[in-house]
């Protein structure tokens, strides 16, 4: 138990110490060489800027998070539904999978202007962009997972004349959970990227704009510390969402799946 606690402390403490050390070196070097803050700001400049502008920044973060989470939720629902349809028949999968790949390989930055034009409501357009980016890992992982069923168990279900729905809900979905969660972990980061990239392209302004707009504005005004502060906020939001997904995965799988075994020890 004691070594367990020590390991947990290390898990949080070690990266934290590295971060702190890097910030110190950064601060010292910038001060020593008197680097102007409009070229490369010191950590203290960034935190000052954050202190001044936190109200705007958090409002922008709220917008970005709303778009990210809506896009992610839509991607979950659509992606899992598509995967369920794919596993119903090989023909359907063969016919449609290439188009799912199309989603993945088309650069989102190239498509998003079109989406912004097609979807009138800007927030709606950004959610669509975020959904498209987040969709593919969920489709491909869920499809793989729904197919990765223990053939013996499948035989047992069939010998018992289980219905398709019973096989899906009692066998395929539980077997697929580790794969689905792996897909969701990738997708939540992609949904954030989609939300930010979409906003760069859409270039929304004024009230209700997200963090990408703050970065653009700060760039135009050469307010580099503010740009860094907005960037930092995006990163922290991404890490936080990823962590939440990790915790959810652990809650769902820790009692049975090998991937979470170490976490339990």
């Amino acid at each position: 138990m004691n070594s367990n606690k020590a390991e947990n402390a290390m898990r949080i403490g070690a990266p934290f110490a590295v971060g702190l050390a890097l910030l110190l070196v950064w601060q010292t070097l910038c001060t020593a060489y008197a680097v102007p803050s409009y070229l490369f700001p010191k950590p203290s400049d960034i935190s000052d800027s954050f202190g001044r502008e936190w109200h705007t920044l958090f409002a922008a973060l709220g917008t970005t998070l709303k778009i990210t989470l809506s896009g992610f939720a839509a991607a979950c629902v659509i992606g899992i539904l598509i995967a369920v349809i794919f596993v119903q028949s090989k023909v359907i999968e063969l016919a449609f999978f290439p188009y799912a790949v199309l989603l993945q390989v088309t650069p989102i930055a190239a498509v998003s202007p079109l989406i912004v034009i097609l979807v009138k409501n800007t927030t709606g357009a950004l959610i669509v962009v975020s959904t498209i980016v987040a969709l593919f890992p969920i489709i491909s992982n869920t499809t793989l997972g729904l197919r990765s069923v223990d053939p013996g168990l499948l035989n047992l279900f069939r010998a018992r004349r289980a219905s398709r729905l019973q096989i899906l809900l009692r066998l395929r979905v539980p077997s697929a959970l580790p794969y689905i969660f792996a897909g969701l972990r990738i997708s939540i980061g992609l949904a954030l990227i989609g939300a930010v990239v979409g906003e760069f392209v859409a270039g929304t302004g004024g009230r209700g704009s997200g963090l990408a707009y703050q970065i653009l504005q700060a760039g135009f005004q050469l307010d580099i510390p503010l740009m860094f502060a907005a960037l930092a906020l995006i990163s922290v939001a991404g890490i936080a969402m990823f962590t939440v997904m990790l915790v959810l995965t652990r809650l769902a799988l820790s009692h049975w799946h090998e991937s979470e075994l170490e976490a339990r020890r």
Binding site: L156, R170, W256, H257
Partner: protein, 280 residues
């Protein structure tokens, strides 16, 4: 040399003692050719009678698992047919006769507790928990795993997982128990223990059992009938009756009769190993 006949005239005394049990599963000239052209099984005739403990033994590729698969109605014969209780596959099912199946692997759902795993077949038949739970508890008690009802499969040893699989098959109170090399992956001690347990359950529930195995010793210890099979193409070449009374215990394992029977099975198997046995 012509293949040995598939049916045997049993000793009269034994036939009388059995009171001519009714056929449970009849394999009628059933053969299996897979889609890729592999001939897994030549036409086979075999009658499983109530109360039999029949072992299918043979080298890899002799079609013993295929034969068991057809008997469990998981595989359809390419030619010929099977009958269950003198009827079609509709005789088996939730409302009809029960066939319990135990596979090579425990095939448990890793995300479900031992209890839920044993309850699975009831759940698939939409039997309410109030009705199924007492039977699940009985089955778990029978295999000695009552204390582990709330455990997950990963927390159990290989032998215990196999016991869960047996409990799952027994919980529905089957008329026939079909087992496909269930203890192949277990160590010798665990295997002996489970062999003895299976025999006890077979006796106390008047089960009819078919048991696929690689092990001659296991076949002789368990069976009333040993069906010896040969590979490429898969076929039945011999049948040996084990006329040893039950209950059998460890003293049977070390007896001369046991050794002689093992030698008989071994002889039958090695005859089958000879290539072109028709020409020699």
């Amino acid at each position: 040399m012509t293949p040995a006949p598939l049916t045997f005239d049993e000793p009269e005394a034994k036939a009388a003692a059995r009171l001519q049990p009714a056929p449970v599963i009849e394999v009628l000239s059933a053969e299996k050719v897979f889609a890729d052209g592999t001939r897994a099984l030549q036409p086979v005739d075999l009658t499983l009678r109530a109360g039999d403990f029949m072992t299918l033994i043979g080298p890899s590729g002799c079609g013993k698992s295929t034969l068991l698969g057809m008997m469990s109605n998981l595989l359809q014969p390419s030619e010929g047919r099977l009958s269950w209780w003198r009827g079609g596959p509709e005789k088996i099912g939730a409302k009809g006769r029960q066939i319990g199946i135990v596979f090579q692997d425990p095939t448990l759902m890793p995300w479900a507790t031992v209890e839920s795993n044993v309850r699975l077949l009831f759940d698939l038949d939409r039997v309410p928990a109030s009705e199924s739970m007492p039977r699940v508890r009985d089955a778990l008690a029978r295999v000695g795993l009552s204390k582990f009802a709330k455990h997950y499969p990963r927390q159990l040893s290989g032998g215990m997982r196999m016991r869960v699989a047996i409990a799952r098959a027994l919980a529905t109170d089957p008329d026939v128990l079909l087992m496909d090399e269930p203890f192949g992956a277990l160590d010798e001690f665990t295997r002996h223990k489970l062999d003895a347990d299976i025999l006890d359950m077979w006796q106390e529930r008047s089960l009819t059992a078919v048991f696929v195995t690689h092990s001659i010793y296991e076949a002789v210890f368990l069976s009333t009938r040993i069906v010896v099979m040969a590979a490429s193409p898969g076929r039945i070449i011999h049948e040996i009756i084990v006329d040893e009374p039950f209950p059998r215990d460890e003293s049977f394992r070390v007896s001369t009769r046991f050794a002689n029977l093992c030698a008989d099975v071994l002889n039958a198997l090695s005859l089958a190993q000879k290539p072109n046995h028709g020409a020699s």
